[in-house]
């Protein structure tokens, strides 16, 4: 699995993307692992308490996880996860 | 500990909210040509700079004023105030100010000069970029000085 970061998320992670071998089955634990790695700013960006932060946009293979279970969205080894803050329009 | 109106031109985006806030506060309408602050934009360089009265300690406008209408405020620190009642509109202050920050407005027959909205400057409230600050005079350059100090810190950290 590849996790890609965009805009301000890159400043929290210090990198543009990360390969994750043997990802967890759902999104929540994946984000937990990443938050443990990258720290508080990343955690606060993706989580709002125990929920997915409404101001984060997470796509799995181009599909917004809001339509596939949010933190329960299932993940497979070959997936591409993209994490964006809400930053723009136009 | 008195406050000064500090400008940070590097943060100015040229939006002129300061002019609108100033005009609205003093005139109750939007007439930015009447604002006491003006933000000038240089389009080719993409830079803008807000300008208003610097409330000089040794103010040229106070020195030349024949009636004392321009005077250092005795109620507020860091303020050169203007008294409409004693002003004869000779406009000597507008000639004397080296920065061009005192202006005669014919429409209202007044001298326009920043008065910090008597200690609660509206331009600062409305500036979206932090280009204007009403800040304690002991701290007003701290952020700029420290930003440059940080560059020295980074440079020396690498080699030591």
């Amino acid at each position: 699995m590849i996790v890609k970061y965009f805009a301000t998320i890159r400043t929290y992670t210090g990198e543009n993307e990360r390969r994750v071998d043997d990802p967890p089955a759902t999104l929540g634990p994946l984000l937990e692992t990443l938050a443990a790695r990258y720290g508080t700013l990343f955690r606060r960006a993706v989580f709002a308490g125990d929920e997915l932060n409404p101001e984060i946009i997470i796509l799995v293979n181009g599909r917004n996880v809001l339509y596939s279970g949010r933190l329960e969205a299932s993940l497979a080894a070959g997936d591409e996860v993209s994490i964006f803050p809400m930053v723009a329009g136009g | 500990m008195a406050k000064v109106l500090m400008i940070h031109p590097d943060k100015c985006t040229g939006c002129r909210n300061c002019e609108l806030a100033c005009s609205f506060e003093h005139e109750g309408q939007f007439r930015p040509s009447a604002a006491r602050v003006q933000a000038y934009t240089w389009e080719r360089e993409g830079m803008s700079v807000p300008m208003m009265c610097q409330q000089c300690d040794d103010a040229a406008c106070v020195t030349v004023c024949p009636t004392g209408a321009m005077h250092r405020s005795n109620t507020m620190a860091n303020l050169v105030d203007w008294d409409a009642a004693t002003c004869i509109r000779c406009k000597m202050c507008t000639i004397a100010c080296p920065f061009g920050n005192a202006r005669y407005d014919a429409a209202s027959s007044s001298i326009f000069k920043c008065d910090t909205c008597q200690g609660a400057p509206e331009c600062v409230t409305f500036c979206p970029s932090g280009a204007l600050e009403f800040i304690d005079d002991e701290q007003h350059v701290r952020s700029r000085k420290k930003a440059y100090a940080a560059k020295f810190k980074d440079a020396f950290q690498e080699v030591s």
Binding site: M86 | C15, R31, G46
Partner: protein, 601 residues
């Protein structure tokens, strides 16, 4: 008079006459200003058969009631005319500081009629209006024009002008103000050029009055707070500009690539907002009264494409980037600077070049047609060269300057023009995002994203979410956005204020400013009225339901790669419901009942 100034300035360039008239306040109340007011003037005064480039066309510059106040990010104005690209009511929106200056000079609108005998510019200083000789200025690019005009008028005058593209009547010509802001689309610059009008300089010492100052200030403070708290309006746009959308759209699989042949561009990151911020950004910039500062002051150091200016916006990075198969941000930014200097619409020109690239790769056109240039996808130098040629109107550039519809048709392949109603679609692939496709197809000015920016909900999660891949509910979504935007465009507010506030806040500020009570419902109804009046005009131009469509490619050729691989746009599932919800018959004609409801004849 609150909000509005109460005066319209009418200038007849043929007779050299200037007339001041009173703004009809009923019209102002029902249409607000800018897009709505200007559109009504066109409809009331112009014979629908008028040739857009003839002296009989009218060119209107109109701010809105908010323009010139400190309503947040609300200093916009519109250029309204019959658009030469496609005969619609072209209403092209711009920021900068020109609109507010018109208000301070005392005008709700400038209506320019006729045609000057020779190159001319206008100097408007409060109520003093001069029609001046522009012989020494004609031929100059827009930055030089601005400086030259200011040297002859007032160094603080605000200048709207055309560049060489408008002078040679390119259908993609725009009108620039403050050197870097554009009334971009539908060829409004060509109308100005056809009138021999090079520039308008305005300086105003007047004011905009407020009916209820305390209520207005409170409403403004509330609106500011909401926008500043919003991740997009408050921080995101200032940090990255609109160009940060490149990666979002690409990862969604809806970044149109190589003339919409695909929807995914593997090297998109090289041309997105993150790259712009890292390599080219000098500082953010804001228009008059703006608290968002989405503008990018930018520079290119690479000697091949050296330049300094503003931009590129997302649409521009897409049109000269992914759409042309190009991932060189320096070249894209240079193309952007050139378009600003020549005065050309970046969206349409980039898309037209992409169309030409496809024709070239098919062998329909060859190097003989393109002045020896290998005009293939990904050929960076060729793209920049073609932008320059289009701006000059030189060689193959003269063909590009008339847009992709006429280009593709002239070579026997109209299906390769990625346009709706002859105007190029912007940077969102409708096969990956269903609702924006409906907006493109039904848009009153043709391919356009801003008039119904459903992307905010379908992709950006702005306040609500809808799955971009479904068609359910999209008709209603499009109509809501189209109506709200029409009212917003007519008020003088910037579309980006909707990253934070909605119709409710706009209605409240408008009420406090003007002294006329507007509810949210009334505000939206004004938008619906304006949308319908534009539709009626289009019907008179001969547009029918057959024109409410998308290019075949988007309806039948699935996206080839990326996250939206295999998708097409299902317009047929959305259009009938759209007509029905709009209160139109099943061929898209507003019913008598609907027109009566909106007080339209």
């Amino acid at each position: 008079m609150y909000g509005w100034t109460g005066t319209i300035l009418r200038i007849d360039l043929t007779k050299g006459r200037v007339k001041r008239e009173s703004t009809d306040m009923k019209t102002a109340h029902d249409y607000l200003g800018a897009r709505g007011l200007g559109g009504k003037i066109i409809i009331d005064e112009l014979d629908p058969k008028t040739d857009a480039l003839s002296p009989d066309n009218k060119l209107i510059f109109a701010p809105g009631p908010f323009t010139g106040t400190f309503a947040p990010s609300a200093g916009r104005y519109e250029v309204i005319t019959k658009g030469p690209l496609n005969n619609v009511i072209a209403c092209s929106n711009s920021g900068g500081a020109f609109g507010p200056e018109l208000k301070y000079a005392g005008y709700d609108a400038l209506v320019i009629e006729g045609k000057a005998a020779k190159p001319t510019y206008l100097w408007i200083s409060d109520d003093k209006v001069e029609i001046r000789d522009a012989a020494a200025i004609w031929g100059h690019d827009t930055p030089d024009t601005t400086d030259l005009v200011r040297a002859e008028t007032d160094e603080e005058a605000k200048v709207a002008c055309i560049g060489p593209a408008g002078e040679h009547l390119s259908l993609l010509a725009n009108i620039m103000n403050e050197m870097h802001r554009a009334a971009g689309r539908t060829g409004v610059g060509a109308v100005m050029g056809a009138k021999n009008l090079k520039a308008i300089a305005v300086y105003g010492t007047g004011s905009v009055q407020v009916a209820d100052p305390d209520r207005f200030r409170a409403a403004v403070m509330n609106a500011r707070k909401l926008i500043q708290a919003h991740p997009v309006g408050g921080t995101g746009l200032k940090a990255y500009g609109t160009n940060v959308l490149v990666n979002i759209l690409n990862q969604t699989g809806a970044l149109p690539t190589r003339n919409f042949q695909d929807g995914y561009f593997p090297t998109a990151d090289k041309i997105g907002g993150e790259s712009l911020a890292a390599k080219q950004l000098v500082r953010p910039k804001g228009c008059f009264s703006c608290i968002i500062s989405c503008g990018r002051v930018s520079k290119v150091d690479n000697p091949d494409y050296k330049g300094f200016g503003e931009g590129p916006e997302y649409e521009t990075a897409w049109s000269f980037g992914a759409d042309c198969g190009i991932d060189d941000l320096d070249a894209i930014t240079k193309a952007n600077f050139l378009c600003n200097e020549y005065g050309m619409d970046t969206i349409s020109l980039g898309s037209t070049i992409a169309c030409a690239m496809e024709l070239f790769e098919m062998g329909v056109i060859t190097a003989k047609d393109t002045d020896g240039v290998q005009l293939t996808f990904g050929n960076t130098a060729a793209m920049v060269e073609m932008v320059r040629k289009a701006g000059e109107g030189e060689g193959f550039g003269a063909k590009l300057a008339q847009g992709s519809y006429r280009l593709a048709e002239s070579y026997g392949h109209p299906e390769l023009s990625m346009t709706c109603k002859k105007q190029e679609m912007p940077a969102y692939d409708p096969r990956g995002v269903q609702g924006i496709g409906l907006n493109y197809a039904t848009g009153n000015r043709g391919g356009c994203h801003v008039r119904g920016y459903t992307i905010a909900i379908e992709v950006l999660q702005n306040g609500a979410v809808m799955d971009p891949r479904v068609t359910e509910g999209k008709a209603g979504l499009d109509i809501l956005f189209q109506n709200l935007t029409a009212a917003l465009d007519s008020s003088g507010a910037c579309l980006f204020s909707t990253f934070g506030i909605g119709g409710g806040e706009l209605a409240e500020m408008l009420s406090a400013l003007t002294g006329v009570e507007y509810s949210l419902e009334e505000f939206l109804k004004i938008g619906e009225r304006i949308w319908n009046q534009e539709r009626l005009w289009n019907l008179k131009q001969g547009y029918t339901t057959a024109d409410d469509t998308l290019p075949d490619r988007l309806l039948h050729d699935p996206i080839k790669t990326g996250p939206a691989k295999g998708e097409v746009n299902h317009l047929d599932r959305m259009l009938p419901e759209y007509y029905s919800l709009r209160g139109w018959d099943d061929v898209g004609v507003p019913t008598k009942a609907k027109l009566k409801e909106l007080a339209l004849n």
